[in-house]
Symmetry: C2
Subunit: 358 residues, 2 copies
């Protein structure tokens, strides 16, 4: 203990404390999103700007849109191969490595955005995820959210579980696995591809995010019915994935700055989505889009199928199971609480809105 | 202009750039909350800790609980008199200065927590509020939220608007002004006082925050019925109020650090409230508390009365009107959008919870 103290003292003499604490660092960030998805991409640039400001330009992060450094689902690889030190991406893009990655973003019938943040920041979520991520050489910080997504675009109305059979639908991940149990043929496609294939009749339905991003890709030109809720994406956390070695080598001050800036990014992206949605939805409705809710029997069948998918993944992955169990208890408690005053307040306000009183 | 540029150049030569950018600063923060309200008070200490870490201990903020430096509603005064450079407080404590201060925290039938953050960060809210605050020598940053609060504790059930008449209820601010129009006799009391007076029969009802804080104060020992929603507190933003002069004198890097750390505090307090509520509510229910929702005719009468209160404040304060108008348009659009997929998702999940399926 004494020796360690002395060493620190000597290091303190050998170099000025401030210079030691504020080294010049330049990182490359690979985003999983194109510039055109401005809510998703833009927040990574905001984040880099805040880190630079907070360090007087000594810690610079250059942001590259998807494709320049790596593809949308290649953040782990890019960091492992030293092509980037940091990525802005969605954890659930990496479920091929381990299905447990899904919990970082969302799972079917999961948490809403506020519940997800509560789980991540104060419910043990970030710690559980970082145990998982560490096995892949990554440190993760939540840095964005879409909120509850829409249930996607359908050419024909879904009036029964029967109507799902044979439906070729763009829906990836655990949501796709769930719908596959009910006869949907899920397709793993990027957004622009999905829009093109929906237009060309090669698929029958597609889900992407919500009004703002969906309008940009033009899904409404090929399908009239816009369903909700997107029960597979009750929220959509976007993460910063940072090389664990690079993270550990940062001065504590830079770690604190990155952590706070990531939290700011988390809030800012949510705010951007919430602010950009109303006008986008209005445009969609003006262009002929019709809103629909999934019928109750369809939702019940989906919930049962999702339970099977979660059980199968628990059986297949120890990591998945180790997160799913405490996460389930957390979901049970949080959803019960949110069903009290949050839901009665939101329901009241929505009714006033429908009656044109606001 | 040239003179100013030259002066900056000379200052740059006279002192090393880093030292210039990272001065040693010590601020005193006065919190409006006691240590015992750990969600409210604790986040100010977290905030101070992050700022210190991010600056290698060069920017130190010492946090004082309510009463040490100033009373709960005296943050503006304490900063003006130089007793503190920064405060953690609620904007709506200062409606005696101008009713427009209410918008910083919440107003009756206002925004939920996510909508409020969207308004503050991306809907022009922070800018509008800072125009107001600047007149009081303050720069404000949102730094905490309680979420939708409960509607409070009642000895007798509220079955009609008639039941509100003559009710002595602890409820401050615009919520109290609204209920006064329906015959309630509103009382402006601190939490502990309110609990004592409810126990002593001097008041008939009291609202405070939600399960965690209310349990701590023991309201449930004196009143059986716990109502929701708290339509006067659809959310409850807590602010950092910073002396404008002190804020402007900070290096840009410290401003960036404080801004990001405040956003982190904003998210963390919400997460703490969301995580602490379920167990507290369970305890309350086990001790005999009964949940009730306000009857629809009562809510409708309250909404009409709130409209009158908002109109009266608009007539009385130019500032209030200048915020109320764009805020109303924002509320109309956001609530309509939140009534789509967020509400259908939350409603679905709450139903699964009630059916014991989660």
């Amino acid at each position: 203990m004494m020796g360690g103290g002395a060493a620190v003292g000597i290091a303190g003499l050998a170099a000025p404390a401030i210079a030691q604490g504020t080294p010049e660092i330049a990182w490359k960030l690979t985003s999983s999103y194109p510039r055109s998805l401005s809510n998703l991409y833009g927040v990574a640039e905001d984040f880099a700007g805040w880190v630079s400001e907070a360090t007087d330009g000594r810690f610079r992060i250059s942001v590259a849109p998807v494709g320049e450094i790596a593809g949308p689902f290649e953040a782990l690889e890019a960091i492992r191969d030293g092509k980037a030190e940091i990525a802005h991406t969605a954890s659930y893009y990496y479920t091929d490595q381990d299905p447990a990655f899904a919990f970082g973003t969302t799972v079917p019938f999961g948490l809403n955005a506020r519940q997800q943040n509560a789980w991540l920041y104060e419910g043990g979520g970030n710690a559980l995820l970082n145990e998982l991520y560490a096995g892949y050489g990554i440190f993760g910080l939540p840095a964005g959210n879409t909120g509850a997504q829409m249930g996607g675009w359908f050419r024909k109305e879904i009036n029964s579980v029967e109507d799902l059979k044979g439906l070729r639908m763009r829906i990836p991940g655990l949501g796709g696995m769930t719908l596959a149990k009910l006869g949907v043929v899920p397709q793993q496609l990027g957004g622009a591809d999905a829009a093109a294939k929906l237009a060309g009749g090669e698929i029958d339905a597609a889900e992407w995010v919500g009004p703002y991003d969906d309008l940009g890709l033009g899904f409404h030109k090929s399908a009239r019915y816009y369903y909700h809720p997107g029960w597979w994406d009750g929220c959509g956390t976007v993460h910063l994935f940072i090389g664990l070695e690079q993270w550990n080598a940062l001065p504590k001050s830079y770690q604190a700055i990155v952590t706070a800036a990531a939290a700011y990014a988390n809030a800012k992206m949510q705010a951007r989505y919430d602010v950009s949605a109303p006008a986008a939805l209005e445009t969609l409705l003006a262009e002929g889009t019709e809103l629909r809710t999934f019928p109750q029997p369809v939702l019940e069948a989906c919930f049962a199928a999702a339970g099977e998918v979660m059980a199968e993944n628990s059986a297949a992955s120890e990591r998945f199971k180790a997160i799913y169990e405490p996460w389930s208890a957390f979901r049970r408690d949080e959803v019960a609480w949110f069903g009290v005053t949050e839901l009665s307040f939101d329901t009241l306000m929505a009714a006033l809105s429908r009656e044109g009183k606001l």
